[in-house]
């Protein structure tokens, strides 16, 4: 049965949803429509004159090789971040699912990073990898690798991938653990009796049964990597060196607020918005219907 609350007075019902609607209007609909509006305007850097240019901002965007490079970089960054955070989270969850003693402590410890702001997470990794004072950079140096994310673009990219993935592991862990615990123990036992070893059981029973969770997390993590990693980039590499870590969401900021190309920046954020809407649609369509069994 569906649970239903009925309000005798409509006024009360509207009053209760009003705050949510106001917040959405002020912080989402209004800025989004501003971005849409800006994206079809050409404005000089001082905001003194503006001109309606139709889709010029978009065409110049997609013929800009720097933008396209940033696009490719963002895809690489998202795939790496998602794969890393999903992989680690699944490993941790599989381990947590097996232990009984101290499980609560273990879980709490794994969940902590999620409570940390992205910028703080970025700074944390930034310090650990700091070429002059960072402990991890020091250890890498001892192993013969000269880590320097100030100079080396790949090092910088690895740094933001690590920071972004680390931040997301807790969230994924929670969902994977819940997914694992929803699999009846007897299924695993039946498979063990049926002659499947631990890895085969994982591959043929556990993983397929987790696939709805995995798919959901896949979309959530890609969305996160695309849109929610500004703080991490800003606090660690500021998009450098030489744009090596300028992912799309950072480029919106740097082109708009530093480069003062408001129209181009708005067009970029509209593109990002389209991507997130697309991903959300995919998610809803598949989550509703396509469950692996």
């Amino acid at each position: 049965m569906e649970k239903r609350v009925t309000f005798s007075r409509r006024g009360l019902a509207f009053a209760l949803v009003a705050p949510q609607i106001v917040i959405t209007l002020v912080f989402f609909i209004w800025p989004a429509s501003q971005a849409l509006y800006q994206s079809v305007l050409l404005e000089d850097a001082f905001g003194l004159s503006r001109k309606f240019v139709w889709f010029d901002n978009f065409t110049s965007l997609f013929s800009d090789s720097i933008y396209l490079a940033s696009f490719g970089r963002t895809i690489g960054f998202s795939v790496a971040t998602t794969a890393l955070s999903l992989g680690i989270a699944l490993l941790l969850a599989a381990m947590a699912d097996r232990i009984i003693k101290g499980a609560t402590t273990y879980r709490t410890l794994v969940i902590w990073p999620y409570a940390i702001a992205p910028a703080v997470a970025g700074v944390l990794w930034f310090f650990m990898f700091n070429p002059s004072i960072g402990i991890l950079a020091y250890m890498l140096k001892a192993l013969g690798y000269d880590w320097n994310h100030y100079l080396d673009g790949s090092d910088a990219m690895i740094l933001i991938i690590l920071a972004a993935a680390w931040k997301q592991v807790s969230y994924n862990f929670l969902f994977f653990l819940a997914g694992l615990q929803a699999i009846p123990r007897s299924l695993i036992e039946a498979a063990a009796i049926d002659g499947a070893g631990p890895f085969k059981r994982f591959r043929t029973i556990v993983f397929p049964l987790l696939s709805p969770t995995t798919f959901f997390l896949l979309v959530v993590n890609i969305v996160y990597a695309f849109f929610d990693t500004f703080g991490i980039v800003h606090a660690t590499t500021s998009g450098g060196p030489a744009q090596a870590t300028t992912i799309l969401v950072y480029k919106v900021f740097s082109d708009g607020f530093i480069g003062l190309d408001l129209g181009g920046s708005a067009a970029q954020s509209v593109v990002l918005m389209a991507i997130v809407i697309g991903l959300t649609v995919v998610q809803f369509r598949y989550i509703e219907r396509k469950v692996a069994y």
Partner: protein
């Protein structure tokens, strides 16, 4: 084909809970053994130790002449049917049955012929492409059985396989399991808390209580000569009546506690001259005309079941009242408030030690 042997098997769970207090028994090749007892008495624990899903704390389990204590479940050559069936929800019926064979690298044609044979026996043809979610409860149960039989194991293990089915289907599947086991001749261990299921299926019963095997024997032995008060009360429905009493001074009868009534039946000589428990099954109490040897019952309540009626009442003249149930012919009219005289044949009276509950012989 192989028998089974338990030698001093004990189980202590990691949290210190002692679930099995020592089971010793031998199961012959092809025998159908039912482990029966109330919920939480350790039936599943014992079965899962045979399967290798729980470690054996102490003692030994042999399947055939192999000691299996340390073997992995896969290496024990057993198959198990779980209470919730444990079918793989993302696989078709065919794949569910074939999974164990594929893991053992059985040739493809062999897998196909075995699955076809099993689905013929279990009337599952035409459903091999379905997912478990597209089957009824009874069909899922059959698939779980099919998954066990295609493996052609040495021992079948069943953990309450019928308790998720409705009453009618349960009776039907019970018969099918019995028939299947007889045809295949595979040694089987079957766990249930349902004593009717236990009585009808078993070649021999293991009646368990709180981690102890209280009695091991054929259903009829267990019914006619229950070894303890617990077994006597657990096997048989409605449950046996227990009347506390004291041996009379001449040793020829039993005075029932709080009552002037005496049963003129001599308890076994092994009985010490004090407290004993007298057990009489409801079906062995017969209405009779009142005389010196009969028990007087004042009737409280009558449950008419059709073929027979259950009469509940108190022994007349008892102070605290001993509740007694009698099974009478359904045609007989008995009303609440009535007094009923009852007789019982001496061979149907059971005597138990009131202290340790053991049968007195």
């Amino acid at each position: 084909m192989a028998g089974l042997q338990f030698t001093g098997v004990r189980k202590t769970y990691p949290n210190g809970f002692r679930a099995i207090h020592g089971v010793d028994t031998t199961v012959a090749d092809g025998e159908f053994i039912v482990i029966v007892g109330p919920s939480g008495c350790g039936k599943s624990t014992l079965l899962r130790m045979v399967a290798g899903l729980e470690t054996v704390t102490e003692g030994e389990i042999h399947i055939g002449d192999r000691r299996v204590n340390e073997l992995e479940p896969a290496d024990r050559n057993i198959a198990m049917v779980f209470q919730n069936y444990a079918l793989y929800p993302h696989m078709s019926v065919f794949d569910n049955m074939a999974y164990g064979l594929r893991n053992r690298r059985t040739p493809k044609e062999e897998i196909e012929s075995r699955v076809a044979e099993a689905s013929r026996i279990l009337q599952l043809d035409g459903m091999l492409d379905r997912r478990p979610s597209q089957l009824s409860g009874g069909q899922r149960q059959r698939v779980a059985m099919g998954r066990a039989i295609v493996r052609e194991p040495e021992v079948f293990l069943f953990d309450e396989p019928l308790s998720n089915l409705d009453a009618k289907l349960r009776v039907q599947m019970r018969l099918e399991i019995k028939r299947l086991q007889r045809d295949l001749g595979t040694t089987s261990l079957y766990v249930t808390h349902d004593q009717v299921e236990a009585m009808t299926l078993a070649d021999r019963l293991i009646v368990m209580n709180a981690g102890v095997a209280e009695q091991i024997g054929t259903p009829l032995d267990v019914y006619t000569e229950p070894a303890t008060v617990f077994v006597a009360g657990f096997i048989g429905s409605p449950a046996m009546n227990f009347l506390p009493g004291t041996t009379t001074t001449d040793g020829r009868g039993v005075t029932l506690d709080g009552s002037s009534q005496t049963l003129p039946v001599a308890p076994p000589s092994s009985a010490s001259r004090d407290k004993i428990t007298v057990g009489i099954r409801p079906e062995h109490l017969e209405p009779t005309s009142p005389d010196a040897a009969s028990l007087a019952l004042s009737v409280d309540l009558v449950e008419a079941l059709g073929a027979d009626s259950l009469v509940h009442g108190q022994l007349a003249g008892t102070t605290q009242g001993s509740a007694v149930t009698v099974r009478v012919d359904g045609a007989r009219r008995v009303a609440a408030g009535e007094a009923l005289s009852l007789a019982v044949a001496p061979e149907h009276i059971h005597f138990f030690d009131a202290d340790d509950g053991r049968r007195l012989v």
